[in-house]
């Protein structure tokens, strides 16, 4: 009896297994012709991106509009998780069916992606089409160019800026920081906030973030890597211990000790916590990407102030580098597919698309023509502060030290500088911490250059 039951159960299990198998087989057989039928009319352009939230929604809208605007191509957007992991996915799938035709990759992966030799520089299409590249912001273009060749097209572009709570400053009768503030301007505001609020309000925070570290160096006009930050040749060493860098770190450390600066740590948690504190009026100022504007204006009862990234005292600001990501075209697809990818990129870069992009996301409109678009004008009227990041971008003349660092292994560089920042924030010796990071980075670069045969 029990034996029979056991057999029946086994049979039932076997049957279930067969049904599942049949469903899978059926599904894979069914789904293929459908995909082919679509592809028969239009060429599929697989587009990998790493956008979430409102940016993803806007991007999906762009894709839909582009697909409606013509009949040759069908762009298929695919979300690929975070920036860091996407780089490895792009590299590991190259040359297979799974690889994208056009992909978004973050700012600091530029040198790495270029050196894989897996992409077609967009310069090729710019030349072929006589595309007017001057309509795209020069500071953004310079970041993704090497020796006069545009490697990829800047897309979602942000600037690091200083945010301050204007309402809070008014309440304590504090003059806001000037348009292009120096370190001592920030110290003044932070100290006044702390003193006049009787420590109810924290003055300022600088997140432990390698990007901000790089920006301090850029704004001081100091190269982080040799060979002009890699723009003149493959870097062989980095310099984390320039006088300006030491001054900057000392400025932060002194203020942290005094208590007018606070430390929110590193990573996504730090960003969430500093934003929450800022919105609840407990933090007066902080440095962050201009892409946070959207988050800082919705539901904020206080007036938001935005100004340029601070620079060392006694010198002019050199201008900061952009952040964000760019669009690349893979060279493992046919010329027709690559052409479709380029058409899609052109669509994203039009004055109209870029204006919509800035309004929806807070990333900067890179097309000069966007400034005249009605949607953008309306945003500026409503929130005048949102003009500032774009002005900062246009105010700087691109040069080797503010156009990003053309170096492979910048993720490692950020890890190391972040560790050094953490140590410095916790009171360690500034020079020693930075020297340790510099030494590790240099040995990393040596190994990397050797492995790649540079």
């Amino acid at each position: 009896m029990t034996h029979l039951k056991g057999r029946q159960r086994l049979l039932a299990l076997g049957g279930l297994f067969l049904v599942v198998l049949a469903v899978f087989v059926g599904w894979s057989v069914m789904s293929k012709p459908a995909a082919q039928a679509q592809g028969a009319k239009r060429t599929r352009i697989v587009f990998w991106h790493e956008m979430t939230g409102p940016a993803q929604q806007q991007l999906d809208t762009f894709v839909k509009d582009f697909n409606h605007s013509q009949h040759k191509y069908e762009v298929v957007p695919e979300f690929e998780g975070n920036y860091n992991e996407a780089v490895q996915k792009i590299i590991n799938t190259h040359g297979t069916d799974a690889s994208p035709a056009v992909f978004q990759s973050m700012d600091i992966s530029t040198s790495q992606i270029h050196h894989t030799g897996y992409t077609t520089p967009v310069q090729k299409f710019i030349d072929a089409d006589h595309y007017n590249v001057n309509q795209i912001a020069a500071g953004a273009r310079a970041f993704y160019a090497n020796k006069g060749t545009q490697l990829s097209m800047p897309f979602n572009t942000s600037q690091p800026v200083l945010y301050y709570n204007e309402t809070l400053l008014k309440k304590y009768h504090i003059t806001p920081p000037p348009v292009n503030p120096s370190y001592s301007d920030i110290t003044r505001v932070a100290t006044q906030l702390m003193d006049r609020s009787h420590k109810q309000v924290q003055g300022m925070t600088v997140e432990i973030y390698g990007w901000l570290f790089e920006q301090f160096m850029a704004n001081a006009g100091v190269s982080l890597a040799n060979h002009q930050d890699g723009h003149a040749g493959t870097p062989t060493a980095v310099n984390f211990t320039s006088p300006s860098t030491l001054t900057t770190m000392k400025w932060i450390q002194d203020n942290l000790k005094r208590g007018d600066f606070v430390n929110y740590g590193a990573g996504a948690n730090a960003q969430n916590n500093e934003t929450a504190s800022f919105l609840s009026g407990r933090l007066g100022m902080f440095l962050q990407s201009s892409a946070s504007i959207g988050q800082l204006t919705t539901g904020n009862h206080d007036q938001l102030g935005i100004t340029y990234y601070p620079h060392p005292d006694g010198q002019k600001s050199n201008g900061v580098a952009i952040g964000g990501a760019s669009l690349w075209i893979s060279n493992d697809k046919s010329a027709h597919v690559q052409r479709g990818a380029w058409d899609f990129i052109k669509y994203l870069m039009t004055a109209k698309s870029q204006a919509q992009w800035q309004v929806a996301t807070g990333y900067l409109a890179l097309n000069q023509g966007s400034q005249k678009e009605a949607v953008l004008q309306k945003l500026y009227q409503k929130l005048p502060a949102t003009k500032v990041p774009g002005e900062q971008l246009r105010a700087a003349t691109p040069n080797a030290t503010n156009s990003g660092i053309f170096l492979q292994g910048l993720i490692q560089e950020r890890n190391l500088t972040q560790t050094a920042m953490e140590q410095i924030y916790n009171g360690s010796d500034i020079k020693k911490s930075l020297e340790t990071a510099e030494k590790s980075m240099n040995s990393y670069i040596q190994g990397n250059n050797r492995a790649n045969g540079y």
């Binding site: 740590g265 990397n448 045969g453």
Partner: protein, 317 residues
């Protein structure tokens, strides 16, 4: 046996045939056995080969190379990856952090798990409810647990922060100061582990024969004496099992670390597995990451071996 049968007398013709047939059959059976064995083992060998043995060998191979920007091994460096790792202060710190974490997690999990099991084994009204609650963390996924603990440790709205304020204790920046961050991830991991440990130990406690307690009680043994001389020896195989599983699990912890601290602050919670992830999937440095994986595998194997060698002696089956 076949030898004996294969030397029959020449005149009896049917016999050699039978013998031959016998031999053939036995041979066939033998061969068939091999084929059957291969047929049954084949699929699992194939799967193991493709997904376990090949990656293992490949990792070993990669660990002797520098890899270029598309992950291909280009420059043979011998054991230099290992030497560089073992002499780097950052990696030594990672080893140290892993040791602290593993010891903390294993000891706390076992002690608290045993305590809960010991409580739950008593037959009291409503005990069923507690048994369910104690084992409930088995059903919680890592991401949910991480978010839950992040809320508790949050510096401005966290539960610990609120309690601290009520009691006028100094504010602890749980996840942004090195020491407390390690404590925080250990607490969260132990909490995650407890459900499983509790359930296994609870089962073991229930299996301890009641007469042993009765007999020892008649001898005048105190409950404490009973616990150390009856309960512990009887559940020692299970304790051994849970300690091994928890140890290996602790070495391999990734999800909670990634979601709560991402290895920070100041690399205080940068455990060995996390360093492997960073080097392989963020830095694209496969050679170094492979060397780190090999070191980790060796360490886990060593500890498991030590456990079998020393702990198993104290286990009563």
């Amino acid at each position: 046996m076949a030898e004996m049968m294969s030397t029959p007398k020449p005149q009896s013709t049917p016999k050699p045939q039978v013998a031959e047939r016998e031999k053939q059959r036995s041979f066939n059976l033998h061969v068939n056995d091999k084929y059957y064995a291969l047929a049954f083992l084949g699929p699992s060998l194939l799967v193991l080969g493709v997904f376990v043995f090949y990656p293992m060998l490949r990792t070993l191979y990669l660990s002797l190379f520098l890899t270029n920007n598309v992950g291909r091994p280009t420059v043979f460096v011998g054991l230099k990856n290992y030497v560089n790792l073992l002499t780097s202060s950052a990696y030594q710190a990672s080893l140290q952090a892993t040791a602290v974490y593993v010891i903390g997690v294993v000891v706390c999990t076992l002690v608290i798990g045993l305590l809960l099991a010991q409580m739950a084994v008593r037959k009291l009204a409503g005990i069923q409810w507690f048994r369910t609650i104690f084992s409930a963390t088995m059903g919680v996924s890592v991401s949910v647990a991480a978010i839950f603990w992040l809320f508790i440790f949050s510096p401005s709205v966290g539960l610990f922060d609120q309690i601290g304020k009520l009691l006028h204790l100094p504010l602890v920046q749980w996840l942004t100061t090195p020491g407390p961050a390690m404590v925080a991830v250990i607490i969260s991991t132990v909490w995650m582990n407890l459900g499983f440990t509790f359930l296994i130990l609870f089962g073991a406690l229930q299996m301890v024969p009641q007469p042993l307690y009765e007999a020892s009680a008649i001898e005048g043994a105190s409950p404490r004496y009973q616990f150390f001389h009856v309960t512990l020896p009887m559940i020692s195989p299970t304790l051994f099992f849970t300690s091994t599983v928890t140890l290996i699990g602790a070495f391999k912890s990734f999800g909670l670390i990634d979601l709560m601290t991402a290895g920070g602050p100041n690399n205080a919670t940068n455990l060995m597995v996390y360093q492997v992830y960073r080097d392989a999937f963020l830095n694209g440095n496969y050679g170094l990451a492979s060397a780190e994986s090999v070191i980790l595998a060796v360490i886990i194997a060593l500890f498991t071996l030590l456990q079998f060698k020393f702990l198993e002696k104290r286990v009563t089956y």
